[in-house]
Subunit: 484 residues, 2 copies
């Protein structure tokens, strides 16, 4: 079977055996089984445990080799010291049935420790799997999630109730670190409209499956529309970047790469045993290949959402439309400082529409590229202003800032803005960075907006940085097109 086909064993297995499954809620082997049940994985799950007959109500087997049915994916959550006996048993199974395609090894204490024992364990794992053509993910990882079919091999506490998620996203993540993967998952779920990532992989030591395998899977996977990467280091940097670049021409690739400094690179080496490489080389390569590099975790998530949800920007003329003078000035400052956009003067027609429709005390296009519709603007006036500015030919996109719904009904504000945007002709559906700035107290408003396909941001800081990435990527694609 081809290496590519075997990858389906992780993302779309016919059945899953959990070696080290447990009935003790404090154990990782409990959480894995629990997650598979809770996420609604519809195919067979086989707990493997020496001491019990069933785990969480599912029949258990004492050994992997004793499961009579076919097993496609094996999840290993036994302590590292047991690897030799588990591999003996896996070999027995493969000799008899030859069915396993993929294996996730979650435990740590393998090659990353750089001890002889750790390296021997990792070698044994790889040797057995190579012999039988089994792909291995890990060790020292949290494994795979596929939210389309309920595959979840992670031992991450299912603290996020599935009901928190109302919408499937097209964002798939690959992370070298398990804890970063976990953190990204929880941060995404904490957004006003919780982000249910499409697919999620933590790579760990990359003894076999590595960035390239996962990225090429995401490249082929139609439901993955945007790719997010957390990376510490990779030995075949040049090859990896070329692959990322190939993907970036089809779908956006956003990367947070650490180990930038000398000390950070050393820390990366003791973490997953990887070599961070010279950061300046990576940075230049990312730029050359259209790979969007972010510097912080909130920025990663905001940028992924922006790239999934917004159209590409056609130019750099971005208008600032504000219900609140203070934030308008703040955003104008940011834009002036970063200098990646021009704040365009709108046409006389647009000015007249705004003067007619907005509250009397509004400041229209003064200074150029900026209007303040004042705190007395109604939900409808918010929507009218957004429409008028997006329909102006001089405008390529908008920052829309509003604070608190003291006199506005939250859901209504969200619906009005979304309806105004979604009823625009396609050519006017330009990037719109809407900030509603009252912390958790405007979650309802933002949730409505996001359910209807728009993006919302905490403050202009997040919006401006995401816009910068969007514009940069749009220009990269355009330049590629011209050249090819």
């Amino acid at each position: 079977m081809s290496k590519e086909k075997l990858m389906e064993g992780f993302f779309n297995p016919e059945s899953i055996a959990v070696v080290g499954a447990s009935d003790n809620p404090k154990k990782a082997g409990y959480i894995i089984v629990h997650n598979l049940i809770q996420k609604g994985f519809q195919r067979p799950v086989y707990p493997v445990n020496h001491n019990v007959n069933e785990v969480q109500g599912i029949k258990a087997y004492p050994l992997l080799s004793q499961i009579p049915e076919d097993v496609e994916l094996v999840v290993l959550i036994t302590p590292a010291a047991m690897i030799h006996s588990v591999m003996d048993d896996l070999e027995k199974r493969m000799e008899e049935k030859g069915d396993v395609k993929a294996l996730v090894c979650a435990a740590a204490d393998y090659g990353e420790t750089k001890t002889e024992e750790g390296i021997n364990r990792q070698n044994r794992l790889l040797e057995t799997c190579n012999r039988y053509g089994i792909r291995v993910l890990g060790p020292n990882c949290i494994g795979v999630i596929n939210n389309l079919n309920g595959v979840d091999t992670t031992f991450v506490d299912p603290g996020i109730p599935p009901s928190d998620f109302k919408m499937q996203s097209g964002i798939s993540i690959v992370s070298q670190s398990g804890s970063i993967a976990t953190s990204i998952m929880f941060m995404g779920a904490s957004r006003p409209l919780p982000v249910k990532f499409n697919k999620f992989v933590s790579l760990g030591n990359m003894t076999d499956v590595d960035f390239i395998d996962i990225l090429e899977y995401y490249e082929r996977d139609d439901s993955t529309r945007v790719v997010g990467i957390y990376m510490e280091g990779y030995p075949k940097g040049k090859m990896l970047i070329e692959i990322m670049g190939r993907i970036a021409r089809k779908k956006p690739v956003v990367i947070l790469k650490v180990g930038r400094g000398v000390k950070g690179a050393k820390a990366a080496n003791s973490h997953t045993g990887s070599l961070a490489g010279t950061d300046a080389v990576y940075d230049a390569a990312f730029k050359q290949y259209g790979i969007i590099r972010v510097a912080a975790f909130r920025e990663l998530i905001d940028t992924l959402l922006t790239l999934e949800r917004m159209p590409m920007a056609n130019g750099r003329n971005f208008y600032v439309l504000s219900q609140t003078g203070g934030f308008g000035i703040f955003c104008t400052d940011l834009l002036e400082e970063l200098q990646f956009v021009n704040m365009p003067k709108i046409s006389e027609d647009t000015c007249n529409i705004l003067k007619e429709q907005m509250p009397v005390m509004s400041t229209i296009d003064e200074p150029e590229g900026y209007s303040d519709i004042t705190v007395s603007a109604s939900e409808e006036q918010h929507a009218q202003a957004l429409t008028a500015v997006l329909k102006d030919d001089k405008v390529d996109g908008v920052f829309f800032l509003t604070v608190t719904p003291t006199f506005l009904q939250q859901e209504r504000l969200g619906h009005c803005l979304a309806e105004a945007y979604n009823s625009l002709e396609a050519k006017y559906k330009k990037p719109a960075f809407i900030c509603i700035m009252a912390g958790d107290y405007v979650k309802k408003s933002r949730c409505v907006l996001e359910e209807e396909g728009l993006c919302s941001f905490d403050t202009p800081n997040e919006a401006v940085v995401a816009a910068k990435h969007l514009i940069w990527y749009a220009e990269y694609l355009k330049a590629k097109e011209v050249r090819s």
Copy 2:
């Protein structure tokens, strides 16, 4: 009466009249009365309304001049066009009773419009108040909050249930913009442990009461331990900065000043009619006078909390202690980039303690200044690690990073860390920047920590920036001490 004494009329009035009080929940005049009731203001409130006998169950009067009891604070929420008749009535009252000390004028459409009419209105307001020695706040503002006694003249939707607040803070805010003030209030309330600001003032047009009055009040006010400022511009910049500098030698002053660029300054001028001044001049003056300047709203709140809650740093040796390799590297990168701290090698003793107490796979002090206690560290091991590092003489402070309590009990983690910290001898209570990085899903953990007096952060980005401000301020104070 002295100008200073009159200021008590805003923060500690014997009684409040609300001119324009309403029973219609959609009106600002409703919300003001509602807020005063809900916040538990214990002294008399007199609604003034031509058309009804009572407002929200409180006896109402048709005119201000007809309230028989003494009135110390008048809140004006009538439309600007009515200012002349309201001032006529106020003059009548002052001729007869002479009791009013302070007036908040909330409505807009005054001097900031730069129309003749607006300027005339503002002049009339000021003229009447000056004649009778009444201090005026506004117009075009949301007024005053004093959370110690329930004064709240704002028309901001009371969307924050009072029960959300468990703790009084010593942070007082003064903001030139009402919407920014509102946003800061909601953002503060959205923290894991909601911040109940001590006092809160929005200045608006500053026809009379301005930055200097409020800052001098905060200077004298013992319950204000940290001062936060949002500023667009101020005509007497030099005098203001000297006063801020005087305060900064007693309590931290943190400022977010906008209107940094040419365009932003223009926008500031049309917002509150203020001149932003040359930003470079402000920036240099802030540095000279020990005033901490921040660049974003989240940073403002994180920095205020840090300065309220943490001891001053004695030096720049900050240790990175992480439960998670990925975030450890990320934080090390940030520190290496910003270069304001040194990551110190800990003593052999501390290393031995950590090696003995931490999980076997931990990486101790490798690279120097960095230890990874791994995802298998228990709540107690988190606490032990924090204690050991803070007790090391080479360490002036710590960044402590942990992700998700998959195997940890959230409240227990918070309690263990807080107990470890709070039971240290005073000399070991060094700045500790604790990040628990799983979005809203670790609110419980963070809330416990903060209830017990510590600070917690979303990610290393926020922690590192707050630490930078703390260290800068500590060094400023030390230098001042040496010189004086």
